[in-house]
């Protein structure tokens, strides 16, 4: 990367930190792995603060109970009392995605040689999470309803002649779910980060381009402030959407229409 020429995609590069092989597979410890572990440590630390189990909670305990209560509520409203056993999974999804999204927005770039890495901007990661959710939905559906689970493709009250038409559409919309889950998160993250990087590069380039360039740089700076705010919002919303959609799909599988 030469001065004044910024590659907005470089931030998504996975760089190995420590090589590691299991059999013929390369499972090197990378910057992506590092940030996943940081997310794990943060979630663990946060939850540990809420484990004092006091009758009258302290402020950290209130925060942790607020988060768990939020997931509890979402699952109970959308799935019902049977959703109880899915709460750990939904909670893990929400916490991991939320913390990963927010970690990616840390302004670590101001320290030379460091930059934050957004694990959720890798579709190798969001895709695996989405497929995991989707597999759990299918397994739960088959476990609870057997082959009757496939009546999901025929919405209740469909007229008989419409079934051959409706069923394929429903099937496609069902199969699209993992892609919509994984791609939505991945695209939302990558788009915001590219936008920030591009406007950042405008500021740098504008600095070399005389008074006109300075104007553009100032505008870009204002815009970048706005985009960062938007991205913070997006980080929370995308985590919420992922957890909510998984909950709704599970609700389909549990309650079948």
């Amino acid at each position: 990367m030469t001065a004044g020429k910024v590659d907005p995609m470089k931030q998504f590069t996975i760089e190995p930190i420590a090589p590691l092989h299991i059999g013929s597979y390369d499972v090197s410890f990378t910057n992506s792995s590092l940030w996943m572990l940081i997310a794990l440590a943060l979630i663990f630390g946060f939850m540990a603060l809420g484990l004092k189990r006091e009758l009258v909670p302290g402020r950290w305990q209130v925060a942790v109970e607020g988060l768990t209560g939020f997931i509890d509520n979402m699952v109970k409203v959308n799935i019902g009392p049977e959703g109880e056993k899915f709460i750990p999974f939904i909670f893990s999804l929400f916490a991991f995605i939320l913390v990963s999204n927010l970690l990616g927005l840390l302004p670590l770039g101001i320290i030379p040689g460091m930059h934050a890495f957004t694990t959720t901007s890798q579709f190798s990661l969001t895709g695996v999470l989405a497929v995991t959710s989707f597999s759990i939905v299918i397994l739960v559906g088959l476990w609870r309803h057997g082959l009757r689970f496939f009546s999901l493709f025929v919405p209740h009250g469909t007229p008989l002649p419409m079934i051959p038409l409706i069923a394929p559409i429903e099937f496609i919309s069902f199969m699209v779910r993992p892609f919509s889950l994984g791609l939505r998160l991945f695209v939302a993250m990558i788009a915001g980060h590219i936008l920030m990087e591009v406007f950042g590069s405008f500021i740098v380039s504008g600095g070399h381009a005389g008074p006109m360039g300075w104007g553009i740089g100032a505008l870009s700076f204002l815009f970048i402030v706005f985009v960062v705010g938007l991205e913070l919002l997006m980080a929370v919303i995308q985590a919420y959407v992922f957890a909510l959609l998984t909950t709704l799909y599970l609700s389909d599988a549990v309650n079948l229409h």
Binding site: I14, T68, D72, I87, P88, S124, L129
Partner: protein, 189 residues
């Protein structure tokens, strides 16, 4: 786009570390710590519900006690009113009885006084007849110079007085009747 160009190179590593991290989050935090937090919330909620229930029960009991106390107070009030009424009646009866006793005594006294008066009147009348007979004897002797037998004079006076007696007696009776008409209280007084 590194996500695509690097995919085949890093996918195994991504999968491995994601499985490790997400597994730790799911089993360690989701299934290990989360239930503890949730059970704390549950325990708190049940404690609050419990305390509310207890408070409600205590209030119901207090209400009950108050109602019982009120009922006892009402009972006591009624009892007190009854006792007061009885005492009043009893004392009224006593007063009446004593008044009646007094009346009887007074009547007896009045009766004996009347009898005494009557006997005195009779004695006085007898004496008066003797005196009148003597007086009549002397008057006749001085006026006519006739000497009248003492017995004749006495007979004549007696006959005269007999003729007068009904009128006198009538007067006495009228007096008695007027006295009887006066109210009891004034008689007692």
């Amino acid at each position: 786009m590194p996500q695509i160009s690097q995919l085949s190179a890093v996918f195994a590593s991504q999968l491995f570390w994601l499985a490790l991290v997400f597994g730790l989050i799911f089993f360690g935090i989701g299934r290990g710590m989360l239930p503890k937090v949730r059970s704390t919330i549950g325990a708190r909620e049940s404690k609050i519900a419990d305390d509310l229930e207890k408070a409600r029960a205590a209030r119901a009991k207090a209400d009950e006690t108050e109602a019982a106390w009120r009922a006892r107070m009402d009972e006591a009030r009624v009892e007190a009113a009854r006792i007061a009424h009885e005492a009043k009646q009893e004392s009224a009866r006593n007063t009446e009885r004593r008044v009646n006793e007094a009346l009887v005594k007074i009547d007896a006294k009045v009766e004996s006084a009347r009898v005494r008066i009557w006997t005195s009147v009779q004695a006085a009348r007898a004496e008066m007849e003797v005196v009148a007979a003597e007086a009549a004897q002397q008057m006749v002797e001085q006026l006519t110079g006739m000497k009248i037998d003492k017995n004749d004079a006495a007979n004549a006076v007696t006959a005269e007085l007999r003729a007068l007696a009904p009128a006198m007696r009538r007067e006495h009776r009228a007096e008695d009747a007027a006295r009887a008409k006066q109210p009891l209280a004034s008689t007692v007084r």
